[in-house]
């Protein structure tokens, strides 16, 4: 099915993960490319249909907010795996670990002595006026001083050795269930290509997640800690993942109404009466965790949960207040943050970021809108964003007005030429832009799961990989030496 010359011609000046400009495969892809050349389009199409049927039957869906006709959709799964060589992965792994350790140290500092502000590296108002900063967390020591136990670092690639971190998801990153199910599905559909590659396994993630959660149980916990996953319920877009992870770890999946705070402890209502919970892996946002301490109208949380947390009777994972570390306004300071806490140079690049709050930077942004990507500071999911080179004049004018009206709400970055990977499209194999979200677990130690979730913009030329905007996912292989 693979026609190397035609495919390479399609990649134009963009870095393609599989083929070089001269249409020769990169070493990590050599076996896969050879295999692809032997496949027929009809055969792959049948496998694709089989994969779709598997996903639908298992109910691996996500909800799309505000779309009435189908509130559960399938995330498109693209059969073509993304391959990362052992060497590339070693580099990424080191860079990611350095970054998450530094950001965790930053969180500890911000919620204690704020040395980084005293040192003049970050302006105080960047923290104090930030909505993601949670003053309630000041002076509190979470178990093992870990704030973000589960991190999903979004990485893009633009060249052979050019990797950039686009976002540090330190709050409640999702997508790990797709990483696991994608692999299961691929091993089911294509056992023969796994036989020809040494692909690092990912299936132990749930076990490692469980160990991580156990390792941060409150110091007062005697015996085996009881873990529960807190979900907002079946209408949440990531409900499948919440249920999946609870199932894989063999722990209870709870909703706020299943929990209560009493006698200085967190309990869940069971058929035998109530039982203690020591570690709560919550997939509910900070604001909704506890109506007594945060949003009073929240029906998703547990009254008094935060007080219990501060008293050391339960561990909330990830800790409340971690959003300050992945805030888009703080992002520009991450290289400084790494230097400050580790004394090392950052291994992974940041994308150049202009902050519209600053007069000179805003002026530059407004003059160069046609080349830049403009993002809302608190936006996510690919909403509220302008991609300059793909925008109309009208859209740019609208955005300029919005930036002038609320400059602090926007940042801008150059439009990155994201690398492409082969995707199976209606017209056969074609290059499509991808990103990568490896998942990190931080407890007793830091573990980066080999691979992660590759998201792919399935529309030709599109740079937006979010599933809410027509993106799909791929299995991601890290090859072992």
């Amino acid at each position: 099915m693979l026609k190397k010359q035609a495919y390479a011609a399609d990649t134009k000046a963009i870095f393609d993960e599989m083929l070089r400009a001269d249409a020769s495969p990169r070493p990590a892809y050599a076996a896969l490319a050879a295999w692809l050349e032997r496949q027929s389009q009809g055969g792959i199409r049948r496998k694709q249909q089989e994969a779709d049927a598997i996903f639908r039957r298992l109910g691996i869906t996500f909800a799309v907010y505000g779309s009435a006709e189908s509130n559960e959709r399938l995330i498109p799964f693209d059969l073509m795996p993304r391959v990362i060589s052992a060497g590339e992965w070693r580099f990424l792994e080191r860079g990611i670990e350095q970054r998450v350790r530094a950001l965790n140290a930053f969180l500890y500092d911000i919620y204690h002595r704020q040395e980084i502000i005293r040192a003049g590296k970050i302006p105080a108002e960047m923290i104090n006026d930030n909505e993601a900063f949670l003053p309630e967390m000041m002076g509190f020591d979470p178990p093992r001083q870990v704030y973000s136990h589960i991190v999903g670092t979004d990485i893009v690639r633009t060249g052979e050795d050019q990797f950039f971190v686009l976002e540090d998801n330190m709050r409640t990153p999702s997508g790990v269930s797709y990483m696991l199910e994608n692999r299961e599905t691929m091993m089911h559909l294509f056992p023969e290509i796994f036989a020809a590659h040494r692909v690092a396994p990912v299936e132990h993630y749930p076990e490692l997640l469980r160990q991580t959660l156990e390792s941060v149980a409150p110091a007062t916990c005697e015996g085996d800690p009881r873990i529960a996953v807190l979900t907002p319920g079946i209408y949440n877009s990531a409900f499948f993942e919440h249920a999946f992870l609870a199932d894989q770890m063999g722990v209870e999946l709870v909703q706020g109404s299943d929990l209560l705070v009493d006698e200085g402890a967190l309990w869940m209502r069971t058929i035998r009466g109530r039982e203690r919970v020591h570690v709560l892996y919550r997939r509910v946002d900070d604001a909704f965790l506890d109506p007594l301490n945060f949003r009073p109208d929240s029906m998703l949380g547990v009254p008094g949960l935060f007080d219990l947390y501060r008293a050391g009777a339960v561990t909330i994972v990830n800790a409340p207040g971690t959003g300050i570390a992945d805030d888009k306004a703080i992002y520009a300071y991450v290289p400084e943050i790494i230097q400050f806490y580790t004394g090392e140079k950052p291994l992974l690049n940041n994308v150049t970021t202009w902050r519209c709050a600053k007069d000179d930077e805003r002026a530059y942004v407004l003059e160069n809108l046609h080349e830049l990507v403009v993002k809302e500071v608190h936006g996510s999911g690919g909403y509220g964003m302008l991609i300059g080179p793909r925008s109309t004049k009208q859209q740019r004018q609208d955005f300029a007005e919005r930036i002038k009206a609320r400059p602090t709400n926007y940042i801008a970055q150059p439009t990155l030429a994201l690398s492409t990977c082969p995707a199976f499209t209606a017209s056969g194999l074609a290059p499509r832009h991808v990103d990568l979200r490896p998942f990190v677990l931080m407890g007793e130690r830091v573990r980066v799961t080999p691979g992660g979730l590759t998201r792919v913009a399935l529309k030709k030329g599109s740079l937006v990989v979010n599933s809410s905007q027509g993106g799909g996912t791929k299995d991601t292989w890290v090859l072992e030496d």
Partner: protein, 314 residues
């Protein structure tokens, strides 16, 4: 196990059971409508079908006239009717989905595929042939779900709550189905006899899927006392009140052993069982069949409420 999990397993099974029952009732109603009535026209008793399904009041609130087509749509597809097959499948699936971790993969796939496939049905092409196909399909899916559950679920609390839901619902359905046709079973009608009566007796047996097993079991023609015996009292008949009651007692016994709670529910269940064991077709006839069935219905409902309270469902 969370109280909410127990509740979801209980209701998931209740609604799958109900979907199957409603599908059977529509099928029986449809069959009736094809049978010539004495004199002219056909028997058409969709009001009885609605009553048996416990949907008559809801239907009347929405529709002025009882017509075959609108009753079929109401019982099959209407989301406003909580007991329509569509609602049953959706509710069962949503209950299952919210406690996905308590289900096996096989159970979830059976539920989820049923839900997906049902949504693909186009209401406008539900002609007579297609209608029967959809009804058969619904029963097949209910059977698949039950098979997946029996074949894969660990015999722990979750199994007990799921089975409890099945048999509380089934007892309710059987009692309700028979109650709508109880007059056919009155001794006074025995005297009248004749074709019409035999047909009516068979209809009752069909409503509880027992017309073939009856003939096998009794080896002679339909007689009202035997039918009452079969549907109400016989422990061998898998939809009889006695059979359902035996299962409820056995599941609650197991649950109290496993959890140490639920003694009140178990006592109430045993009382219902003892009442059935002490009854005969004669004693039921003297007491009045209709009263006997309504008494069962209210005790069965009270038992379900008691169980929910005992096991923290609320």
């Amino acid at each position: 196990m969370l109280g909410r999990t127990a509740a979801s397993l209980f209701w998931m099974s209740r609604y799958m059971e109900r979907a199957e029952n409603v599908s059977r009732l529509i099928g029986v109603g449809y069959r009736e409508s094809l049978t010539p009535d004495i004199g002219v026209g056909y028997r058409d008793d969709w009001t009885a079908t609605l009553t048996a399904a416990g949907c008559l009041a809801d239907y009347k609130a929405k529709h002025a006239k009882v017509t075959a087509e609108s009753v079929q749509k109401f019982l099959l597809l209407d989301r406003d009717n909580p007991s329509s097959i569509r609602s049953c499948i959706e509710t069962a699936r949503n209950n299952g989905r919210s406690v996905r971790t308590a289900l096996t993969r096989e159970m979830w796939e059976a539920l989820n595929a049923t839900y997906n496939d049902f949504n693909a049905i186009n209401p406008s092409d539900l002609g007579p042939a297609r209608l029967l196909e959809v009804l058969d399909w619904t029963r097949e899916r209910a059977n698949l779900f039950r098979g997946a559950m029996l074949g894969s679920l660990l015999r722990d609390e979750g199994y007990c709550f799921s089975q409890l839901g099945t048999f509380v619902e089934r007892g309710d359905n059987t009692a309700r189905n028979v109650a709508t046709k109880y007059s056919v079973l009155l001794p006074v009608n025995e005297v009248a006899g004749g074709g019409r009566n035999l047909h009516q007796l068979e209809t009752i047996l069909r409503m509880v899927a027992a017309h073939q097993s009856y003939r096998y079991f009794f080896k002679y023609a339909y007689r009202a006392p035997q039918i009452v015996d079969f549907i109400v009292l016989r422990p061998e008949m898998p939809r009889s009140l006695r059979f359902c009651s035996d299962w409820v007692v056995s599941m609650l016994t197991r649950l109290t052993e496993l959890t140490g709670v639920g003694a009140g529910s178990l006592a109430a269940a045993k009382e219902i069982q003892a009442g059935l064991m002490a009854s005969t077709p004669d004693s039921i006839s003297q007491e009045g069949l209709h009263g006997y069935l309504t008494d069962f219905l209210s005790r069965n409902a009270a038992l379900a409420a008691r169980t929910a309270a005992d096991f923290n469902f609320g």
